[in-house]
Structures are given as structure tokens and as C-alpha cells.
């Protein structure tokens, strides 16, 4: 039996070590940041009717990951909602008025088990309830506040190693999740009016989509609820699109109701459908209604109309033939 030379063994060992070393020495922070968190509710509407009143909003967090997660809590004031996209646009902190700054710095705090907190640590699979405490001290002149509360994964600060002769740069990447808080401190009542309702049909599947534009002319946010019910040519109700949304004070909002919002898939229908909108402004109790008609133009519908046409032509042809015989 031939023995392997020690030189070859040494060379192989060195080569293997060189190949494996980069993986062993690679920094651990290059790995992905896994963030798995549930947060309820996604929107909270609070009314503080009296000057000295105070309210607590429970927020429930659950760490669904297998690692302990440290979350810092941050507040992001909402400036407005984008009219076209419907997205919240956040206000730069430098643009806040003194009154707003006072509200966000002194009227809002977070508590866990009765103690004030600015961050929360969640063990793997742990659920925890914290309270968002709001008081309206010093906020007599402004009646509406909209903001988001963000829970952002914190990582320990990195050592700032100065490089005297060259430029190096690095960034911590931190994932987070937010919930919206809508606060009213005044006594104003919202006034929502309907600006427009239109239907769009999907030529492939006959699923209608709706664009509903509502305007709130008062400086008081409003919750609206209701639905759009779809009726076919025979006036049979075929599906509902539930509506539940918020219109911020003095804002216009377009709500897009796509096929995914329907309670069930609208079945094949022949041509003209009707959509009946019924929405209620919760604060004022005002109900808005509107009926619109739209033409479904799916391939199936077109096929049925073609068959109807062929049938009618056939009847006319037959009648004409009989008449010519007579």
C-alpha cells in the first residue's frame, strides 16, 4: 500500500483552511435582520372631549420570531393624506408648531405595567400589551392630531472607529411596524359628502372595481362605514363590497374598492349591473346613497350576447323564410 506524502497532506490542509476561513471569519451582522411582529390595532380613533381628560389606548404586540427583539417607540406626526395615492405624508419634526411640539412631547406617553417606557423588549413568541396614554393638556386651540406610532427594531450602537486618512461608511438597517392614532380634542362634528362614485370593469373576469371619493369639510376626522351592493339585470343582489375607512379633517379621500374587497366573487352576469352605495358618517349619523349602472364586458358576457344575437338572427331568418313561402 502506497502512503500519502506528508507534503501533500499539509498542502491539502492549508488549501482547505484558506477556503473555509472567509466563511468562518465573516461578520455575523451580515446576516439578515428577521423581524416578525404583529401589532393590534392598526388604527385607533380617540376622542378627548374635555380639557383635562385623559385616555389610554391599548396596543398589543407579539414577537413571532425565535429571537429576543428590542423595539424602540417613535412617534411620527401625519401632515396629510396624499389625495392621489391615499398615503399618509409625515411631517418633518422641524415643521411642527410650538403647540404641536408641546402635544407630542408632553401629552403622549407609553406605559407597560404602570411604568413609563420608551422601548419594549419581547422574548421569542412573547405577547405584550402596552398603553398609549394621551391627555389634551395645552391643546385647546388645535382639535385634531394624527400620528403614527412606530416600533422599530433597535440594534446596539457600533463603535465609531475613526479613520484618519480615508472615508469609510456604514449603516444599520432597522425594520419596524407602525400603527395610526387619530385624536380629536375638540367638539366639532365631521361632515362627509360624496364627491364621486365610478365603476371599472375587468374585461378578463367581469370583476368590477369602484372608486369612491368622499370629502370631509370639517376639521374633525370621521369614520365611515357601509357597502356597495351589486345587483344584476334581474335585480338579484350578487355581492357586497364592505366599506370601512377614515376621512381625516378637511380632507378629500378616494377609496379604491377592487375585486379583492368583494365578499364573494361576482358570478357571470348579463351586461348591465347596478351598484348601490350606502355609507354612513359615524359621528354625524349622515347616510349617503347613490346608484350607478355599469356594463360588464367579460369574455363570457360577450359570448352570451353573441349567442343571443345569433339566436335573434336565426329567428328573423326563419320568420322571413316562412313569410316568403306564404
Amino acid at each position: 500500500m502506497k502512503l500519502i506524502e506528508p507534503k501533500i497532506i499539509l498542502r491539502t490542509a492549508v488549501t482547505a483552511t484558506l477556503c473555509v476561513a472567509p466563511f468562518l471569519l465573516a461578520p455575523k451582522h451580515a446576516l439578515a435582520q428577521n423581524f416578525s411582529l404583529s401589532l393590534e390595532p392598526t388604527i385607533s380613533s380617540i376622542t378627548l372631549p374635555y380639557e383635562s381628560s385623559e385616555k389610554k389606548v391599548p396596543l398589543t404586540l407579539r414577537n413571532a420570531s425565535n429571537e429576543t427583539t428590542r423595539l424602540r417607540i417613535e412617534i411620527f406626526p401625519i401632515q396629510q393624506i396624499d389625495k392621489i395615492t391615499g398615503r399618509p405624508i409625515y411631517q418633518p419634526i422641524s415643521d411642527l408648531t410650538n403647540e404641536q411640539q408641546s402635544f407630542y412631547s408632553s401629552a403622549i406617553s407609553f406605559e407597560q405595567d404602570g411604568k413609563k417606557i420608551t422601548e419594549i423588549i419581547l422574548s421569542p413568541k412573547q405577547s405584550s400589551e402596552i398603553s398609549l396614554k394621551i391627555s389634551n393638556k395645552g391643546s385647546q386651540n388645535i382639535s385634531e392630531y394624527y400620528f403614527s406610532v412606530g416600533f422599530i427594531k433597535s440594534s446596539p450602537p457600533k463603535n465609531n472607529v475613526a479613520q484618519a486618512e480615508e472615508i469609510t461608511a456604514s449603516s444599520d438597517i432597522q425594520p419596524g411596524i407602525a400603527t395610526h392614532i387619530l385624536v380629536s380634542t375638540g367638539t366639532a362634528v365631521s361632515d362627509v359628502e360624496l364627491k364621486s362614485l365610478s365603476a371599472r370593469t375587468d374585461t378578463a373576469k367581469a370583476f368590477p372595481s369602484f372608486d369612491l371619493t368622499l370629502k370631509n369639510s370639517q376639521n374633525k376626522h370621521s369614520r365611515i362605514y357601509g357597502n356597495i351592493s351589486i345587483y344584476n339585470l334581474l335585480n338579484q343582489k350578487i355581492t357586497d363590497y364592505p366599506i370601512h375607512s377614515y376621512i381625516l379633517g378637511d380632507q378629500e379621500k378616494t377609496i379604491s374598492l377592487t375585486k379583492y374587497k368583494a365578499t364573494n366573487k361576482p358570478p357571470l352576469s348579463l351586461g348591465i349591473n347596478s351598484a348601490r352605495l350606502t355609507v354612513t358618517d359615524e359621528a354625524s349619523g349622515k347616510t349617503l346613497t347613490k346608484d350607478i349602472y355599469y356594463l360588464t364586458s367579460s369574455k363570457k358576457t360577450i359570448a352570451v350576447w353573441v349567442l343571443v344575437l345569433i339566436f335573434l338572427i336565426y329567428i328573423f331568418y326563419k320568420a322571413a323564410k316562412r313569410a316568403s313561402r306564404l
Binding site: 423581524f35 376622542t47 422599530i152 461608511a169 444599520d172 438597517i173 419596524g176 348579463l270 354612513t280
Partner: protein, 220 residues
């Protein structure tokens, strides 16, 4: 010919009677789909907090009394720490953040930084792009090596439309929406966020650091 008439009549009657026949089956399909994806897109369902804050919910129609289901959100961001390495003046460094998520429809993705990239005595500005016209909400073309700063782009389905090739926005201190999950896809899959950093010859040497935050925000 009578057979043809009967056949056509049969087709017409079948089509007319189809609605009640298909509805139950399709409802079941749709229900399963929605259960997996349950979120409150543009029309969030009432939560327990909302119920407490507003007493008059007894009058709500049945459609809005759907039970509250928990919002579950998974974000996996790679890397957790982004190293630009040594940055040479007028030589842009490109890096990539990847987000794989089971983000449900109804969430938007926002991005911001806690501060500009900062060393002991100086900082690297936010990107201004080629013509200096890119802004927090509008991406601009960035090809020139003489444009400096830190900027980001977005290169996946669901990204805002102003993110064309080589178009960047500056990273700012205020959260800004840059992507919306497509309702068809039930979540963004592997959203790519290219980052570009370029410095001028006058940039003070040092170790520049900051934090970049990716925030999932429900639609309002």
C-alpha cells in the same frame, strides 16, 4: 333546426341561471383566499380599541362586524448592517438592501434615516442627483460621478413609478413611502433597494455612520 333552437335556448337559460349556481362555490374559494391574507387594506376593520372609543357601533351593518384578526407581519431585511467600505471621492459605491416579506396587502413600505451619514466632525449630505431635482417624493436620474450624497432607489414590483433605471431619491429624516404591495401578490416578494453613496474630494476623512429604517405602515 329545432334541435339547434333548443340548444341555443338551453345555453341562454344556463347563462341566466348561472349566478345562483356558482355563487356558493366561488364564495368558498374567495373566503379561503381572504383568510390567508387578512388585513385591513384601505378599509380596516373595527378593532377593539375603536369599539371602545365609539359607543355607537350597534348600528353598524353586518358587513362591518367581521371579527378582528391579528395583523401578522414578517420582514426579512438583508443585510442587517450595510458596509460601504472605503469610499473614494467621485467613485460611487453601490449597495443593495433586499426585503423579503410576507407583508399583507394594505401595508405600505416607508424608508428614512435617523441622521445623515455622520463622522465626528462632518457629515455626508443627502443625494441631489444629476440635476439637483430629485426630492423626498420624486426620484431623479443619477449618473454623474460629480453628484454627491446618499440616495436610494427601488427595483421591484410594487415600487413607486418614479424609480426608473438609475433614478434615486435622497434618504431623508422623515419617513417616505416608496412601495406598496400589490393586492394580487399578497405581499412584496424580494423588494430590492439599491443604495448609492458618492463623496466629493473635499469630504473630510472619517468613519461615517447612521441607521436606515424600513417601516411597514398600514394604509389609512
Amino acid at each position: 333546426m329545432h334541435v339547434l333552437t333548443v340548444f341555443i335556448l338551453f345555453l341562454l337559460i344556463s347563462a341566466l341561471l348561472a349566478p345562483s349556481g356558482f355563487a356558493q362555490v366561488m364564495q368558498q374559494e374567495e373566503y379561503i383566499l381572504r383568510l390567508d391574507s387578512y388585513s385591513q387594506p384601505t378599509t380596516p376593520l373595527p378593532s377593539s380599541t375603536e369599539r371602545n372609543s365609539t359607543e355607537d357601533l350597534k348600528s353598524l351593518p353586518p358587513a362591518t362586524k367581521t371579527p378582528q384578526l391579528s395583523q401578522s407581519l414578517n420582514l426579512s431585511v438583508t443585510p442587517g448592517f450595510l458596509d460601504f467600505g472605503i469610499v473614494h471621492a467621485t467613485n460611487p459605491v453601490n449597495r443593495l438592501i433586499e426585503i423579503s416579506s410576507t407583508t399583507l396587502p394594505g401595508f405600505l413600505l416607508y424608508i428614512f434615516e435617523n441622521r445623515n451619514l455622520q463622522a465626528e466632525t462632518s457629515e455626508i449630505p443627502q443625494a441631489s442627483c444629476d440635476s439637483g431635482t430629485c426630492s423626498q417624493s420624486m426620484a431623479g436620474e443619477w449618473n454623474s460621478t460629480l453628484s454627491f450624497g446618499l440616495g436610494y432607489s427601488c427595483a421591484s414590483e410594487g415600487c413607486d413609478q418614479d424609480f426608473r433605471e438609475n433614478h434615486f431619491r435622497p434618504l431623508t429624516l422623515t419617513p417616505t413611502a416608496f412601495a406598496k404591495p400589490d393586492e394580487d401578490q399578497f405581499g412584496l416578494k424580494n423588494t430590492k433597494i439599491p443604495l448609492r453613496l458618492n463623496t466629493s474630494a473635499t469630504q473630510t476623512p472619517g468613519s461615517y455612520q447612521n441607521s436606515i429604517i424600513i417601516l411597514a405602515v398600514p394604509e389609512l
